[in-house]
Amino acid sequence: MNDQVEVRLRAALTEAGDTVQPVTLRALAPPQGSRVQVHTRLLVVAMIVLPLAVGAATLLRPTDRDSQLVAMGVMGMSPSRVLGPEDPEIAVYICEAQSPFRSCSGSHGATPQQIAAIEQALRAMPQVESITFRDQQTTYELFVEHQANSTLAQIVEPTDMPESFRLKMKEDTDWTPTLEAAVALPGVSNVINEKCISEYLAGDSDNSKCSVGVIFR
């Protein structure tokens, strides 16, 4: 019967296990590299990837052990990107696991079904001309490319990056309904009008109107 097999298996495993004794165990080395908590990393990433006009002073609380990194994030917020005429204007960010945004709280990131539903909903919008998906790896590569600060580039990992849909919009349409409808979709963390950001950087616009739904939890 299987009883006998169980007995032999237990005995064999026990004996194999006993070959490792505590006294001879190699000590665990203290972990190398970043001790920065994932939440802070994601927050910093969010601030840079999504060019948010967050008041730096609000963030910098000296008691926070990660405040230095956050400060780096704030400094890195001024993006160098200039939107070309062919570039998609709207970025719809997808909730990743442990996203720092309130719209994503309670989830472990958007599910594949949610992402598919988001795409479907975006494609159905009349103001949208075309849609592309930007994955974590691509976002990471762009991040590292734009991020002269190598310390930050070393700390973050591709999996920290949010995925996003990029919307190329039709000209002479009102984008507001798209922005508002997109941010309400389950699994969307927030929506950024990158054209608006680009204009803001050129001094032509008020940055406060460039993003929808940005609330950190």
């Binding site: 019967m1 299987n2 006998q4 097999v5 169980e6 032999r8 298996l9 237990r10 005995a11 064999a12 495993l13 026990t14 004996e15 194999a16 296990g17 070959t19 490792v20 505590p22 165990l25 190699r26 665990l28 080395a29 972990p31 190398q32 590299g33 970043s34 001790r35 920065v36 908590q37 994932v38 939440h39 802070t40 927050l43 948010l52 006009a53 967050v54 008041g55 609000t58 963030l59 609380r61 008691t63 926070d64 052990r65 990660d66 405040s67 956050v70 442990q98 720092p100 309130r102 406060s208 109107k209 460039c210 993003s211 940005v214 609330i215 950190f216 939890r217």
Partner: protein, 177 residues
């Protein structure tokens, strides 16, 4: 635009689990678990060290402290899987650092019967092998095994049953031939 910045370092929002403490407390068991999977002790210790480094500092913060050990076991299990995958593809080392625990050359394991069981175990499909080790070495429940392996409890149960039957066949005991 409304921005609320409440979260950084705010206590109580998320229970934090000290991964380092868990590894320290369970290092021996984790190394032994890895040993069953990968065969040699040096690799087993490497796997645990690596799992420790990867999970340290809240790389993956656990919301539920009760699940911390299961999470850490999973990390070790995943490390073992990576090692085994690499071994399949990588060029073998010219000189093995240490003979596998189930090999005839291993001086560590004395009993011939023990060796036979381990060799048979090693021949099982990966999931069956993992499930059997988690059950018969760590004596985990179906639920704990399911959690560690990232599968359903009923799958864990059936995997154990199939693994045990397969092992019995190989060892020439019970069941169908």
């Amino acid at each position: 635009m409304e921005v609320e910045l409440l979260s950084i370092g705010e206590p109580g929002v998320r229970a934090s689990v000290d991964v380092a403490a868990i590894f320290a407390a369970h290092q021996l068991g984790l190394v032994r678990l890895a040993l069953m999977m990968v065969g040699d002790r040096a690799t087993a210790e490497d796997v645990v060290q690596e799992a420790f480094a990867r999970t340290h500092a809240g790389r993956k913060r656990l919301r539920d402290p009760d699940r911390a050990l299961a999470y850490v076991r999973s990390a070790v299990l995943n490390g073992c899987r990576s090692v085994l995958r690499r071994r399949v593809t990588a060029v073998r080392r010219a000189v093995p650092y240490e003979p596998p625990v189930w090999s005839a050359e291993s001086a560590a394991l004395v009993g011939e019967d023990r060796r036979e069981v381990l060799v048979a175990l090693r021949g099982l499909p990966r999931r069956q092998r993992e499930a059997l080790i988690l059950r018969y070495y760590l004596e985990l429940s179906d639920l704990e095994i399911a959690e560690t392996m990232g599968i359903g409890a009923s799958t864990a149960r059936s995997t154990i049953a199939r693994g045990l039957a397969a092992l019995g066949r190989v060892l020439g005991e019970g069941g169908k031939a």
